[in-house]
């Protein structure tokens, strides 16, 4: 489990207040990427080819809506600072994995049809969380196990 990323990609941006739907679109996209919010209009992700590209496209979209956006590569000023940001990101993902675990456990006693729908949904949810999980918490494995157990129960149900 890597505690630090080394290099980070930062997006500094300002979005026009109106129309608010555009602001919301951008916020949703940033949430989806699991960014660390460093301050007002400043977000960060561990740098790799994909995260850099994603933030560059979002920057482009902000510029197209008459906002301003710049993308930077950066290194934290201190290890402690970086660890605190990484820890915050890990905690955010851990909460998402815990929600999956709770739903998987609740679905164990659901009706078969509903159970198989829940499995599909939770598998997609795990994949979504996985894509923005840069510092995997212990809950990741537990969530994967819970969903796998539920999927196996659904398959067993079908062959009975």
């Amino acid at each position: 489990m890597a505690g630090t990323a080394g290099q980070w990609v930062l997006l500094a941006y300002r979005i026009p207040r109106q129309p608010s739907t555009l602001r919301i679109t951008i916020w949703r996209k940033l949430d989806r990427l699991g960014v660390a919010r460093l301050g007002d209009g400043l977000v960060a992700l561990p740098a790799d080819a994909r995260t850099r590209e994603q933030l560059e496209w979002i920057a482009e979209e902000i510029v197209e809506m008459e906002g301003t956006a710049t993308v930077w590569l950066a290194v934290a000023g201190s290890m402690a600072q970086e660890k605190a940001i990484a820890e915050e990101m890990r905690r955010a993902r851990a909460a998402e994995y815990r929600a999956v675990i709770v739903q998987a456990e609740a679905a164990a006693s659901a009706r078969p049809g509903e159970r198989s729908r829940t499995v599909k949904r939770l598998q997609s949810e795990l994949r979504r969380i996985g894509r923005r999980d840069y510092f995997p918490p212990a809950e990741k494995e537990t969530a994967q196990r819970a969903v796998r157990a539920l999927a196996e129960a659904v398959v067993a149900e079908g062959t009975r």
Partner: protein, 143 residues
């Protein structure tokens, strides 16, 4: 004609290169650059920040090129859904192939250079196109 894009091609750029070769310019020459400032003056840039043939609004570059060149073949738009999901993954479309295609492209970019990626993916996209062309004609999955 000369076309330029960012080095380290993934799904969107590989699919755009295929689209250009098959529907816009039968003898394209592709240049891969690290910096948008290095795009040759006589080249048309695509899938790069600031280029016209790039992401716009919700569209990935493949969709932008389809619109810009008025390519309204429904099979190409079906492929666009796969490319969009593999590239942006925003669940706008139901394209289960996307995940597989994305992983294949990411793996290829680890073992070969950009020219080779385009060489390998040309028949891959030809095949995807043919599969979806037949599916559309039949109204179901072809054998």
């Amino acid at each position: 004609m000369k076309w330029a894009t960012r080095a380290g091609v993934h799904i969107d750029r590989a699919a755009c290169a295929w689209l250009i070769r098959r529907h816009i310019d039968p003898e394209p020459e592709f240049v891969f650059v690290d910096d948008p400032a290095r795009v040759p003056a006589d080249a048309t840039p695509f899938d790069m920040r600031g280029a016209e043939l790039s992401h716009h609004g919700h569209d990935c570059s493949f969709e932008t090129i389809l619109r810009r060149y008025e390519l309204d073949d429904p099979v190409l738009w079906k492929l666009a859904e796969i490319v969009h999901e593999a590239d942006i993954d925003d669940e706008r479309f139901d394209a289960p192939e996307a995940r597989g295609v994305d992983v294949i492209l990411r793996g290829l970019s680890m073992i070969c250079d950009d020219a080779r990626v385009l060489e390998i993916t040309t028949p891959v996209f030809d095949g995807l196109y043919e599969f979806h062309r037949r599916a559309l004609l039949l109204g179901r999955e072809p054998a």
